[in-house]
């Protein structure tokens, strides 16, 4: 979808300091070689299958379907991957790429901690040094994941600048990459940042829709009518959409974190409340004020608490191919609890945003229609925070 300069329509590009340019050019060259290298692809495939546990299941949620009385609902179970989320797909690809490039150290940003845990995991597996940047606010919200990363041998650096959340962690990681590019690969966790990251991460996450397509054809003999995924930066969503982009009868629906509502300032719904801008290496939509100052966004979900969205999503929105809908904290928490009780599946609070919209949409669809919702991660990490949201004094 992207042209050679990493543009998706008007979005994307490489808006980064000159000090970083040769690093992204080196990465771009390496990736364009290895993506066509059968040996690299074979090693990547083997890691996904043997280590991450792919393919992930496409599960028919019978009880949920019956309870809602509309479309037939399938859940793409990325929560069953090793480390409990889709993040491992991208990380294994990038760690392998970094290794081939002769890098010995991985750095990454993390919001909810899932990408950090996945990166620390890949670093442990491949014998690489690992440093994770995490907003100090998030280290408190996701204390268990901080421990996990340390257990896996990574150093976790709490970021105190700005709002001390995901965007600040991205900025710090970029700064660190600037300082130490010889031995370090920046393992960016989402389909964002400067070219080639949005393309690399999308390619590594595209396994999700490749599998959904094969699995649904096998189970139903036809394509779904709608696929849903939550969107922060947008990696699990682009992974879920990618192989359906040309199948124009399949609705692509990204579910944004509306926080306390898109009519409040406490929101992270970029498409619904943001405007065109340039930040973190890319042109895309961003939550910002009238002078272009990046807004301090909010969501109950640390993984969706980001003021921008990947450039390919911005383009899919511009051309009307994908829809982006806002889902509030309240709706996500309700869905978190509802899926747990109905199907015995505790979704990540991020994924619960997609479930929440599915709960609204399914009853409006016919019984012979099919909806696929990607459960991007498991919700164990969120239990204490949701308990507190419901007024229980539960601490990890």
């Amino acid at each position: 979808m992207s042209n050679p300069n990493g543009r998706f329509g008007i979005h994307g590009g490489q808006y980064i300091p000159e000090t970083l340019m040769n690093s992204v050019i080196e990465l771009e060259k390496a990736y364009s070689y290895y993506k066509n290298d059968p040996q690299f692809q074979a090693e990547f495939s083997a890691l996904l299958d043997e280590y991450a546990g792919r393919p992930s299941r496409l599960y028919y949620a019978k009880k949920l379907t019956e309870a809602l009385g509309g479309a037939k609902i399938y859940l793409k179970r990325e929560d069953l991957n090793h480390t409990g989320a889709h993040k491992i797909n991208n990380v294994l690809g990038q760690a392998l790429l970094a290794k081939k490039m002769g890098k010995t150290r991985l750095i990454a940003e993390t919001g909810a901690g899932q990408h950090g845990v996945a990166t620390a995991t890949a670093a442990a597996l491949m014998g690489m040094e690992c440093v994770i940047f995490m907003g100090e606010e998030d280290t408190k919200r996701q204390a268990l994941n901080v421990y996990r990363m340390r257990l896996l041998g990574a150093e976790v650096i709490p970021v105190t600048s700005g709002t001390a959340t995901l965007k600040d962690a991205v900025s710090e990681a970029m700064g660190e990459w600037c300082k130490r590019i010889e031995d370090t690969h920046y393992c960016l966790g989402s389909v964002m940042g400067p070219h080639p990251f949005p393309t690399i991460v999308r390619d590594f996450q595209a396994v999700i829709s490749r599998e959904i397509k094969a699995q649904i054809l096998e189970k139903e003999g036809r394509l779904p009518d709608a696929v849903l995924a939550c969107v922060g930066g947008g990696s699990n969503a682009i992974g879920t959409f990618y192989h359906f982009i040309d199948d124009t009868n399949v609705r692509l629906i990204g579910c944004e974190a509306a926080g306390r509502g898109i009519d409040t300032f406490e929101t992270a719904a970029t498409i619904n409340t943001g405007k065109l801008g340039i930040f973190h290496g890319m042109k895309s939509y961003f939550c910002q004020d009238e002078y272009g100052q990046i807004a301090p966004v909010y969501s109950i979900s640390a993984g969706l608490d980001y003021p921008g969205i990947g450039p390919e999503h911005a383009h899919l929105y511009d051309i009307g191919r994908a829809e982006y809908v806002p889902v509030t904290d309240d709706e996500a928490v309700d869905a978190f609890e509802y899926l747990s009780r109905t199907e015995g599946i505790i979704p990540a609070i991020e994924s619960a945003h997609a479930i929440a919209y599915g709960l609204k949409l399914a009853p409006t669809m016919n019984k012979d229609q099919i909806m696929v919702i990607t459960v991007s991660g498991r919700g164990d990490k969120d239990c204490a925070a949701i308990a507190r949201y419901r007024g229980e004094e539960l601490y990890e």
Binding site: Q14, P17, E18, M21, G175, C178, G277, G292
Partner: protein
């Protein structure tokens, strides 16, 4: 050669950097006047951005203080307007792509032209992305300044040969206030730059002492000092002007001594 190039080409130059609005625009205005009086050859004025990703924590904090103090692009334009007629040296804005883009590139550059701003530095717009900004800058007689880093290597020739105003040679790796040592490679970088352009090549980011300034101007056409002024303003706030002046004097003296 543009007007900015000709002015900066006359001698070894000293370009101080200030974050506008830190702690307020009145103080920034007083500091600009003091710098002009001290003999600075141009002043680089940072328009604060919420997330200045290329800066170290020192300048990040200055940006946050300025925004918290109510600095906006319009307020800063107004301040520049108020002092413009009192000084004759060039003024250069430095800010992030989104600040210019969200204001509207055309509108931003037009306002700059009316204020006699001669240059614009946007650290997150590299060579590959400069066209959309450069076209607008040119139509309003403003030079979009190109940055070159020691990591630029094979990119130096194409960046330098298309550069306008002056070349901003980044003195070391990394974010601006976290370099402990000046890299010897900067001298090599400057000589490569000068092989591809005759506009001034000015070294910046992290130059903190008169001795460093003297060393740099041994081979470069001038220096940009950012962190020390930021530290002074952070420490003395509204009372920073005499200290700004004092430091500027010591830097200028050191630079002039290298010439003699």
């Amino acid at each position: 050669m543009s007007n900015l190039s000709s002015i900066l080409n006359q001698k070894k130059v000293f370009l101080p950097f200030l974050t506008c609005g830190d702690p307020d625009c009145e103080t920034t205005a007083a500091n600009i006047l003091a710098l002009a009086e001290s003999g600075a050859d141009a002043v680089i004025l940072g328009i604060p951005f919420s997330d200045p990703t290329a800066e170290g924590s020192l300048i990040q904090c200055a940006n946050i203080r300025a925004l918290a103090g109510g600095a906006t692009t319009d307020r800063i334009f107004k301040m520049a307007e108020e002092i413009r007629n009192e000084i004759s040296i060039p003024l250069i804005f430095m800010t992030y792509a989104n600040v210019v883009f969200s204001y509207g590139m055309e509108r931003f550059c037009k306002r700059c032209e009316s204020l006699g701003i001669e240059g614009l530095i946007i650290p997150d717009v590299p060579f590959e992305e400069k066209e959309e900004f450069d076209v607008v800058c040119k139509s309003y007689q403003m030079d979009l300044i190109s940055m070159i880093a020691p990591t630029s290597a094979s990119r130096i020739s194409k960046i330098a040969s298309e550069a306008n105003g002056f070349v901003f040679a980044v003195s070391g790796l990394g974010v601006s206030d976290e370099q402990s040592k000046m890299q010897a490679t900067i001298e090599q970088t400057v000589s490569e730059i000068k092989a591809h352009t005759n506009i001034p090549c000015i070294v910046g980011f992290g130059i903190q002492t008169p001795a460093q300034a003297a060393y740099m101007t041994g081979f470069a056409d001038g220096v940009i000092a950012d962190t020390t002024f930021t530290e002074i303003v952070a420490k003395y706030a509204k009372d920073s002007t005499p200290y700004v002046k004092e430091f500027a004097h010591s830097m200028i003296a050191a630079i002039q001594n290298t010439i003699e």
